[in-house]
């Protein structure tokens, strides 16, 4: 399955993830970092101490001041990009499926990162039996030439099981050796909430973007009457009598839920996007993310 069209890939190649913070990765890359090392960007001076490399002494300054100073340069490091992909049972709903949309978005983010020589990790949660190899291959992918394999691996991930969003994000935050850019692709419909997980990511120093993906049926349900609704993930049953006249109230409820999530994200400096699974991918990638300066 082709996750992204050739045209879209070509357009994505022009983008680069914009990191507001300096890269903290230990590996060399193309991102500015606080680390001092070898590059052409001058950073600072420091006093010479015995043992320093004479090649970095500033001889011009020695001529004027007769003191030895060492010239320091910025080290360019890579930017770790982590995509948290909700692969729970609930993502299988919708027409088109929410999970397909989420995978496409993950692929796009990953491709932009790979093109920028950044390290991409896709963390699909919850854990799924039998997909260990595929999911393992999605960790620490680097380099543009890995994109084909990256797409192939990503398309083999399936949505199943019950997710715990908070737990997954918290673990992801702890497991990351360096903070970087984090993109969370989920419907955020977790009874336990999402606040703790997102807070953990922000606390770890990630620059977080949250993309909420809802199915059109969740926003505008087309089934009425005396219903017994069964939660696909938890098996929880909810009886409800639903008529057309209550549709607007329901939509209001959905709107309130999204607004609350948006406000939470804004309060913590998280970029927040919402989309239904029937939204055109280009609309999200080329317009919304670009306008929010996730990439540029």
């Amino acid at each position: 399955m082709s996750l992204l069209t050739a045209d879209l890939l070509r357009r994505l190649e022009q983008f680069q993830l914009l990191a507001a913070r300096r890269a903290k990765s230990s590996a060399k890359g193309e991102r500015r970092s606080r680390a001092r090392g070898q590059s052409v960007e001058f950073a600072d001076y420091r006093n010479y101490v015995p043992g320093d490399d004479f090649r970095y002494l500033d001889w011009n300054l020695y001529g004027r001041l007769e003191r030895l100073f060492l010239k320091l340069y910025e080290e360019e490091r890579e930017l770790p990009v982590t995509v948290f992909l909700d692969a729970s049972e609930s993502m299988n709903f919708g027409e088109p499926r929410k999970f397909d949309f989420a995978r496409q978005a993950a692929a796009a983010v990953g491709y932009v990162a790979l093109c920028g020589f950044d390290r991409v990790t896709v963390t699909a949660f919850p854990e799924a039996l039998g997909e260990g190899a595929v999911r393992g291959a999605l960790r620490s992918v680097r380099g543009r030439k890995s994109a084909i394999q990256f797409f192939r691996d990503l398309s083999q991930v399936t949505a199943q099981g019950t997710a715990n969003l908070n737990e997954a994000l918290r673990r992801g935050a702890l497991a990351a050796r360096q903070a970087g850019v984090a993109v969370v692709l989920s419907d955020f419909l977790d009874p336990a909430g999402y606040e703790a997980g997102l807070t953990a990511l922000v606390g770890r120093g990630f620059q977080v973007s949250a993309v909420q993906i809802l199915a059109p049926e969740e926003v505008n349900p087309g089934v009425f009457g005396d219903l017994r609704l069964v939660d696909a993930e938890t098996g929880h049953e909810q009886e409800v009598t639903f008529g057309r006249y209550r549709l607007s109230i329901y939509q209001q409820t959905v709107g309130n839920f999204c607004q609350k999530l948006r406000e939470f994200c804004q309060s913590r400096g998280i970029n927040f996007f919402t989309a239904t699974s029937d939204t055109r991918l280009e609309q999200l990638l080329l317009k919304q993310l670009r306008e929010a300066e996730v990439w540029g």
């Binding site: 609930s90 709903f93 005396d226 219903l227 069964v230 696909a232 909810q238 409800v240 209550r246 409820t253």
Partner: protein, 611 residues
């Protein structure tokens, strides 16, 4: 507020059933959804925004219980008593005819009807007025309009059923008069519906409430009884009677035939459902006597199980024919049965001693006192004026009249006739377009049959119908036959007796043995006795005269005790029976309308919830 049918409150037991239905789990459509989180939030928000959470939850239940309560209330028929504005007039007509003695209701239909009427009195508002009418052969006002319930109860208790047929028309006409210009009036008829058709009320729009009584028809009844000379053996008498089985089952009975109380013959008969069975008894009769027939069966209505008739032996009829020389007429008179004929060319005295005088085409100098058959003769006492009419065509005749029994006027041509205006004392029985050709009637106490054309100016004497007509006329005009027919009267009809001598007082011995004095109007020369409400044999003594007469029911309408659910007024109008009184302030209609509105709202609400 009172309730006419409080038993309807038993339906309140249905309320727990409705609640039970709500306790049962409703069958719901099962749907798999990605998450119920949004739905939980949705329910939490809607519940939080509704001020009456529990109430809103159970709206349908509340509506249904309300609907049920309203329906039960409507069924219990609540009404307000004593709060009417302005008095209502209620006219109670209690049918007191023979059929009301039927024992299919306990103890009788009449008692049941009286009980219902008394209930109506109890339900009367204080400012209502009521009139009590007893409808039998005659309508009696038992109580004029009053608010006094005690008086009304007394009046109803004083009513009693008679052996007479109902003449409901009279009662309804009287009631109609009583409620004239009173829009709030009602007529309550307590009857079994065994009445004759009442077409004349078809369009009157009477505010009539019919309270029917009667459970079943289990009755055998004698509906006709007549006695004649046996046509095949003049020495014998033939008794014709018909017995009708009004029940829907086959019935068996014995029919006894008695002559002067002595049993002559018994027939064992089986009657098919709704069968009319004519029976003939033949017996030799040596002297005048009373012939009676009786059914031995025990059915619901006993009054029609017997009938009696006075049988007088035929006496020769003295007939005087006054004619210029009509031999055809003389011959026809001679062949008529029991005729003792005298012929004369002129009449100069009142013809005393003759029973019938036949005047043919002449005007006598002295008009006879006896009954008259007149051909082409005009009397100024009979008609105001007359004229001559050429070739009148016979267009109609009353075949049901006794004079025209078996008489047919086909092929009868008339050349000339007298054209007269039909007088009040007579009825036309043969008509031409311009005038009546034959009249029959009673002027004073003289019976007259008038034929308006000369027999010799017509083809009638050559037709077979002519001698039959003459025989019928002699019988109709025979005073003895008239008397004999008057000796059998239907219950409720007056018995009339022409007095041949001046008497001051008379006594009547009733069938039950009681003797009562009877007033005599000597000036009219006639005795009229009206108290014939009981059937049986009455003996009247007036001076030296002793007359026996029989009173019978002999009415098919009364004997047909089939309960009627509705009364028909002509072809289209009818009144259905009601078992319960329609109280004036009943509010069940409003409650039922409210229940309907609640039902519609509930329906709408239900669909709004789930659509």
């Amino acid at each position: 507020m009172n309730f006419l049918s409080p038993v309807a409150f038993f339906f309140a037991a249905a309320i727990p059933v409705v609640i039970l239905f709500y306790l049962l789990k409703r069958k719901r459509i099962v749907r798999l959804v990605s998450s119920t989180l949004l739905w939980q939030k949705f329910l939490a928000e809607t519940q939080a925004s509704a001020p009456f959470q529990k109430l809103r939850h159970n709206w349908l239940l509340i509506l249904q219980i309300l609907l049920l309560i309203l329906a039960i209330l409507a069924l219990s028929r609540p009404y307000f008593s004593g709060k009417t504005s302005g008095g209502r007039l209620e006219v109670v007509i209690l049918d007191a005819s023979a059929s009301m003695q039927s024992a299919d209701e306990a103890p009788t239909r009449f008692e049941k009807a009286r009980g219902e009427a008394l209930k109506l009195v109890d339900a009367m508002h204080d400012n209502d007025q009521m009139v009590v009418l007893q409808a039998g052969a005659n309508t009696e006002v038992k109580q004029s309009a009053t608010r006094e319930k005690a008086a009304l109860r007394r009046a109803l208790q004083a009513c009693k059923a008679a052996d007479t047929p109902t003449r409901l028309k009279e009662a309804l006409k009287l009631a109609e008069t009583l409620i004239q210009n009173n829009t709030a009036a009602e007529i309550h008829l307590f009857s079994d519906g065994a009445v004759t058709a009442m077409e004349e009320f078809e369009n009157s729009g009477l505010p009539l409430v019919f309270h029917p009584v009667g459970q079943r028809a289990n009755n055998l009844g004698i509906t006709t009884l007549d006695v004649r000379a046996n046509p095949e053996n003049a020495a014998q008498r033939a008794v014709f009677t018909s017995v009708v089985n009004y029940s829907t089952n086959q019935q068996q009975s014995q029919l006894e035939f008695r002559l002067d109380g002595e049993l002559v013959e018994v027939k064992s008969l089986t009657f098919a459902p709704r069968e009319t069975s004519p029976q003939v008894f033949l017996a030799a009769q040596a002297r005048d006597g009373i012939i009676s027939v009786r059914l031995t069966t025990q059915d619901d209505l006993a009054v029609d199980n017997q009938a009696a008739i006075v049988s007088l032996l035929p006496q020769p009829v003295k007939v005087l024919l006054v004619t210029p020389g009509n031999h055809l007429l003389a011959r026809a008179l001679r062949v008529a049965p029991h005729v003792n004929l005298s012929v004369s060319a002129a009449l100069t005295d009142p013809a005393a001693g003759f029973d019938v005088v036949v005047l043919d085409n002449l005007e006598p100098t002295v008009w006879p006192n006896a009954n008259v058959l007149a051909f082409h003769t005009a009397n100024t006492n009979w008609f105001a004026g007359w004229s001559q009419l050429e070739t009148p065509a016979i267009v109609d005749w009353k075949a049901t009249h006794p004079l025209l029994r078996f008489v047919n006027f086909d092929n009868v041509q008339v050349n000339k006739a007298l054209a007269v205006q039909t007088p009040t004392w007579a009825a036309s029985i043969v008509d031409a377009p311009q005038t009546a050709l034959i009249l029959a009637g009673e002027l004073g106490r003289q019976r007259i049959v008038w034929v308006g054309f000369d027999l010799l100016e017509s083809s009638w004497p050559l037709r077979i119908s002519f001698p039959i007509f003459i025989a019928n006329a002699v019988e109709w005009l025979n005073p003895a036959a008239i008397n004999a027919s008057q000796l059998s009267v239907q219950a409720g009809n007056p018995f009339r007796l022409a007095l041949t001598e001046n008497v001051d007082s008379a006594q009547v011995k009733f069938p039950d043995g009681t003797v009562r004095a009877c007033e005599v109007n000597a000036a009219r020369g006639e005795l009229v006795f009206g108290d014939t409400s009981r059937q049986g044999t009455y003996r009247l003594t007036a001076g030296a005269n002793e007359v026996v007469f029989c009173v019978n029911l002999l009415d098919g309408n009364e004997s047909d005790t089939t309960p009627k659910a509705e009364l028909n007024f002509g072809k289209y109008a009818k009144v259905s029976g009601t078992t319960v009184r329609r109280a004036s302030l009943e509010i069940w209609r409003w409650i039922a309308a409210g229940a309907l509105a609640v039902l519609m709202f509930e329906w709408w609400y239900y669909h709004r919830r789930t659509a």
